[in-house]
Structures are given as structure tokens and as C-alpha cells.
Amino acid sequence: MRYAVAFIRKDIYYLRKQLIIAACSVVGFTIFGVLFCGSYKYGNLAKLLENDCNDTYMTATSLFGVLPGVLCLLSLGVIFWGTVSNDRRNGWYMFTSTLPVSKRLIAVTKLGEIAAVFVISGVIGVVGILSCYTVSGRDIAVNDIFIMADVLLFLLIFLLLPTFYFFKGRETASFFTFFLMYITADIATAVIMLSMKSDLDLQKAMTFLQDNAAVISFILIAVNIAVFAVSAAVSAKILGKDVR
């Protein structure tokens, strides 16, 4: 635990400036989102867009409500991923090989650190979203938010850290990450489009998901923990070879 705290402290010292900037941006966007949503009832741009689209999920209110959370996840998460390449470039991993710590602990700490950043920023994001919905007087789709957060954690953290280690934190890792996210988004879009053209009732599926959100969330959390363990083991193995 002592080592884990020291490793995290090192990253926080290293990223102090970026973290302050990211935190200010997130708070700023959240305040903006809340104010924007608060003005919804008085007839703002969101109202106009909603009238045009007439689609609950595509309102500008939702967009501005979700934005702070998404920004949190992307900015803070990406910043912490960056420490993988920094650690390699400045020889930190070589230094850690002189310490009485295992590579697995280093990988688990890094995973835990990034997971914690995502969770904390996710919480800020959810608070932002809830605030936006509350001030705009709209129904809150909490289940959607939790499921989305679970899937994001699964995709963004646990699958991608080994990727960053594998590519030694180089630009290729970022490219691969965005490529993977792009593919994932494409697959999701394709599924939606196919379901719209086929007999599959998307609305029914969404209703099922919402009705069973608690169970699904628990299952996803369990899957996340399992993937966390596998991810840590794979990362440690890659990291061990990299240092050699």
C-alpha cells in the first residue's frame, strides 16, 4: 500500500498543472451546463432545438447535461494514460525495478489510479447531469447513466491500459485507442440501424435494460472486476518485458 500511495503521489505531482486545468474546465462546463439547463424553462436555444427535433434523447439540454461528464472522463482519463508513456520515457520503470516491488503491483496501482480518476470524474459528471436534469425540470434517466458509466469503465480503462503498455505508451497507443473507440461507436450505430430495419424492437430492449438496470449494473461491475484482474496480469507481463 505504501508503494502504491507513493506511485500515485508521483503522478499527482507530475500532473499537478494539468489536473488543475482539467478540474477548472470540468467545473466551468458543469456550471455552464447547469445554468443552460436552468434557463430551459424560460425558452432558450434548447427549447428551440427540442421543438425542431421533437426527440427526448436528442435535446440540447441532454447534450449540455452530459457534456461535463464526458469531458471529465476524456480529459482526466487521457491525462492519466499519458503517465504510462512518461514513466517509460523518463526511466521511471527502470528505477522501479530497483525497488522491492513487483511489476504486478505497479500495473495494479496504475490501473487502480486510472480507474479511480474515471470513477471520480464519472461521479462529478453524474452530479452534473443530475443537476442539469433537476434544474430543467425533466425526468432523470438514472439507469441509463449507470449502465453507460459501467460500459465506459469497461472499455476505457481495463481494455486499454494493456494496450498502452503494449505500445510502450507511444503515439500508436493513442491512435489505437481512438480507433478502438471509433470501431465501438460504429458497431453500436450499426446495431441501432439494423434493429430499426429489422423486426428487433429496440424500444423493447431499452425498456428491458432500464427495468433490469440494477442487475445489469451488478453483472457489469463483476465483469469489470474480472477484466481488471486479467488486465493487471497482462499489463504486468508486458511491463516486465518492457523494462528488460
Partner: protein, 292 residues
């Protein structure tokens, strides 16, 4: 293992693609400084990585203060400090913030000692590391390495690229460090003048093989360069010769036993030599038409 040895390598072998660390064996006595000398790519860093168990050896054993480097790795690493040729700390940190990180990594961390060393080297506490010169960075590494109660200090080309003044300051610190009989230094370098100044013993390595290992004073006393004509080389017994360098004015012959040679080859000029020359003659033997 002898309790007098801080470090003991026996038959350490590690095969890479294109390079083999071949049956490396040497001892570093407690309370001494050993120079580990070889040209670039000779296997110095590979040996150090084997000692640190960063590389898993194909065969051989390494004991550090009596503990096995593999089975007792976690136990012994607290007692080892390593100084690399490049600073391995994030360059956005300051010496002060680095101290807060390092104190969490070592059980026996001594913050007072760390700041004393910073002051001694006139290193600023609040300046970011990326604004440091190479000399300052190396000094900072030394400060960190000597502040957690390590008994064995391993230096991997740490003095390369530093000016003589900084090197001299660092060498003084190492001499102080080994003042305590328990403390030991293994110093890898290709700057043999530094080794000659402070090392009690020296080990030469080339192509992954140990060429020579022993007390510095003995090695310097035993070896000598005999100057003769090319025709006279045949008068010198093969077992006395390390290698021969041919030049325009004759030949330089590196002899392996100066005392005996001075008696046997009376009439020839036999000069004392340096570690640099000794390394050169061992590494270059049979390597071209100028060398035999």
C-alpha cells in the same frame, strides 16, 4: 558465500539474440569499491541488470550480502541503491517533491540526509528537474541513492559525460560512503582514470566475458609495457604476453607479470601502465594486423 563479500557472482549466463553474457563470475568485498570496466556493449549494463534481477539468467547464481538475488529479491532490494546514466525521475518534479515520493518508497528513508546532500551539492530544492544540467541531475540521483540506508551502491556509467570537477565531487562522496565497513560500491564505467583513483578492485569485461578481475593495485603492479623491435618479439615467452601492438617504431608488448619480466628481459625498456592501456591490450588482442 564468504561473509566478507557484499556481492558474489558465479557462472552468470544470459543469452540474448546476438549477445551472450558468458559465465560471469567475480566478487566484490564488503567496504570496497569495485570498478567494472569495459567498452560500450561489453556487457556491463547487462550484468548490472542481472544483479538487480531485471534479467532472468539462464544459469548461475548471484548473492548480495549472503542473500540470493532471485529468491530473496524483495529482502535485499531495500539495501541496494542504483545510479543510472540518466536520471530516472519525472522531470516535472522538484527535488523537494521528489523527496515526498521517495520517502514512501523506502522504509529507511532519511530526509535529513537527503537535504544535507542537496545543500552540499548546492542543488536548489524548488527548481524543476528538467531545468537541471546533466551534472546536477546526476548529483540529485546520488542524493536519492545515499539517503535510504542502502549498503550496496551500484553505478551504471554514472560519471560518463560529466566534467572533471563534478566527477571529482562524486568520487569524494563514494569514498565517504565506503568509510563504513558495511558499505560497498560497484561502479561501472569506461572512464578508467576514475576507477584508478578510487577503486580497490577492478573487473574487466568484454564481449560478455570477464577478462580480468582483481585488486587494482595488483593489476597495475603486475602489468607492464615492454618496448622492443618487431624482430625481438619472438624472444619473449608467449605465457608472459597479453598482446602486442605493432607501430612504426617497433612494438609495444603488454606483459602480465612485471616483476618476473623485469628479471627475464633485462635490457629492454619496461614501463608501468594504466588501466586504460591494460583494457586496450586485452580487448584488442588478435583483432587486426597491428595487434597480435
Amino acid at each position: 558465500m564468504s561473509q566478507e563479500n557484499a556481492l558474489e557472482l558465479r557462472g552468470v549466463t544470459h543469452r540474448f539474440d546476438g549477445f551472450t553474457l558468458d559465465n560471469v563470475s567475480f566478487d566484490v568485498p564488503k567496504g570496497s569499491i569495485m570498478g567494472f570496466v569495459g567498452q560500450n556493449g561489453a556487457g556491463k549494463t547487462t550484468t548490472i541488470r542481472s544483479i538487480l534481477n531485471i534479467l532472468h539468467n539462464d544459469s548461475g547464481t548471484i548473492k548480495i550480502y549472503g542473500f540470493d538475488s532471485v529468491n530473496d529479491e524483495m529482502k535485499i532490494k531495500e539495501d541496494i541503491a542504483v545510479v543510472f546514466d540518466e536520471l530516472p525521475f519525472p522531470d516535472m518534479l522538484t527535488p523537494s517533491s521528489l523527496e515526498k515520493v521517495l520517502k514512501g518508497l523506502y522504509k529507511k528513508w532519511d530526509g535529513t540526509r537527503y537535504y544535507e546532500l542537496l545543500d552540499r551539492f548546492s542543488l536548489p530544492r524548488k527548481k524543476k528537474i528538467h531545468d537541471f544540467s546533466r551534472g546536477m541531475k546526476m548529483k540529485l540521483q546520488i542524493c536519492a541513492a545515499l539517503s535510504h540506508g542502502a549498503k550496496l551502491l551500484i553505478m551504471d556509467e554514472a560519471t560518463s559525460g560529466l566534467d572533471p570537477v563534478v566527477r571529482s565531487e562524486m568520487l569524494d562522496i563514494f569514498l565517504e560512503f565506503i568509510g563504513d565497513e558495511e558499505h560497498t560500491v560497484l561502479m561501472s564505467s569506461h572512464i578508467t582514470s576514475d576507477i584508478e583513483k578510487i577503486a580497490d578492485s577492478v573487473t574487466f569485461i568484454d564481449g560478455g566475458k570477464i577478462l580480468l578481475s582483481g585488486y587494482t593495485s595488483d593489476i597495475l603492479a603486475d602489468h607492464a609495457v615492454l618496448k622492443c623491435s618487431e624482430e625481438d618479439i619472438s624472444k619473449i615467452a608467449d605465457e608472459d604476453i597479453v598482446s602486442v601492438r605493432l607501430c612504426d617504431f617497433g612494438a609495444d608488448v603488454m606483459l602480465r607479470n612485471r616483476t618476473v619480466s623485469e628479471e627475464n628481459y633485462d635490457g629492454y625498456v619496461i614501463n608501468r601502465t594504466t588501466l586504460d592501456e591494460i583494457l586496450l591490450f586485452y580487448v584488442k588482442r588478435n583483432s587486426g594486423k597491428e595487434w597480435r
